[in-house]
């Protein structure tokens, strides 16, 4: 079943095969987006479950001018946010109009060997750095740079303008690069010793 409207019709008819296709096609994608926002497996699974239940409950009202995947991601994004707010209710929003901080970590680690950058330790550093981003910036970053969705889709999923999405993405990349460069820069320095 490849055709999206046939899939939607199948879900509306409660066709078990349509459900299997729907789950296979989207469960991992929804999980990745949710994991990127909530930062742990248990909460990401909860978000996936809540997303599919919400989507299947609302499938009869789904308007087919929207894309199924974008609609589902948007539901997932909202569930992930609700879970996150339950856990961290008091996060303050960053000032998106503040001047961009100029980068200060200026060691070139981009040529470090692949095995070093893909090591367990490096992955841990990346994960922690992403988790430390403010939620608004993290969501834009996860959607565009981890999930690889377009600016237009990410703006729709998050419910902001494309311009605002680009601003958040840019700030997220710079903040993350700064944080990660502090660690990886030390690795370069230790290699030079």
């Amino acid at each position: 079943m490849n055709d999206e409207s046939a899939l939607i019709d199948g879900l509306r008819r409660r066709d078990p095969q349509a459900f299997a296709t729907f789950f296979e096609r989207y469960a991992d994608r929804v999980y990745r987006l949710a994991y990127g926002i909530v930062g742990n497996e248990a909460d990401a699974e909860e978000a996936v479950q809540a997303t599919f239940i919400s989507a299947l409950e609302a499938i009869d009202r789904f308007e087919q001018h929207a894309r199924l995947g974008t609609w589902l991601y948007r539901i997932a994004y909202n569930h992930a946010l609700m879970i996150l707010r339950r856990r961290r209710p008091e996060e303050s929003l960053p000032d998106e109009d503040a001047a961009l901080p100029m980068p200060s970590a200026l060691t070139d680690w981009s040529t470090l060997p692949e095995d070093r950058l893909l090591s367990r330790e490096a992955q841990e550093i990346l994960r922690n750095a992403i988790a430390a981003l403010p939620t608004t910036l993290r969501a834009a970053f996860v959607c565009r740079d981890i999930e690889g969705l377009s600016t237009t889709d990410c703006a729709q999923i998050i419910g902001i303008s494309e311009g605002a999405l680009k601003v958040r993405l840019h700030r997220a990349r710079l903040a993350l690069r700064e944080r990660v460069s502090e660690y990886f820069g030390e690795w370069v320095a230790s290699n030079d010793d």
């Binding site: 409660r14 078990p16 459900f19 299997a20 789950f23 469960a27 991992d28 999980y31 990745r32 994991y35 990127g36 497996e41 990401a44 699974e45 996936v48 479950q49 809540a50 599919f52 239940i53 919400s54 299947l56 409950e57 948007r74 539901i75 909202n78 569930h79 946010l81 609700m82 929003l93 961009l100 100029m102 980068p103 200026l106 070139d108 680690w109 981009s110 950058l117 893909l118 490096a122 990346l126 992403i130 608004t136 969501a139 970053f141 996860v142 740079d145 981890i146 999930e147 690889g148 998050i158 419910g159 902001i160 680009k166 993405l169 990349r173 710079l174 993350l176 690069r177 990660v180 460069s181």
Partner: protein
Amino acid sequence: MTCEELIAYLSSYIDHEMDAALVAEVQEHIAHCRNCRVVLDTTQRLIVLVHDEGQRTIPAGQRRALFERLHRAFLNRPQTWDDSNAQASEGNTV
């Protein structure tokens, strides 16, 4: 182009969302500015790394259990599901 301008344009350059004249200015700047070149190279490397690292899937055991739970719920009609789950399909943005 100044360093401040280059940093402001960095994502547009990486995402190929710039007109040719500005692209030429960026390239001319980084040909002479080591610090901006490092910021560009490390940002591009970072994007590739996180994309690769982030390609996780639901762990197999949990995936099967999740499928079974949702499949049962799907077959048992949505009216029995908790109404609070429907809230997330409405607005609610950051």
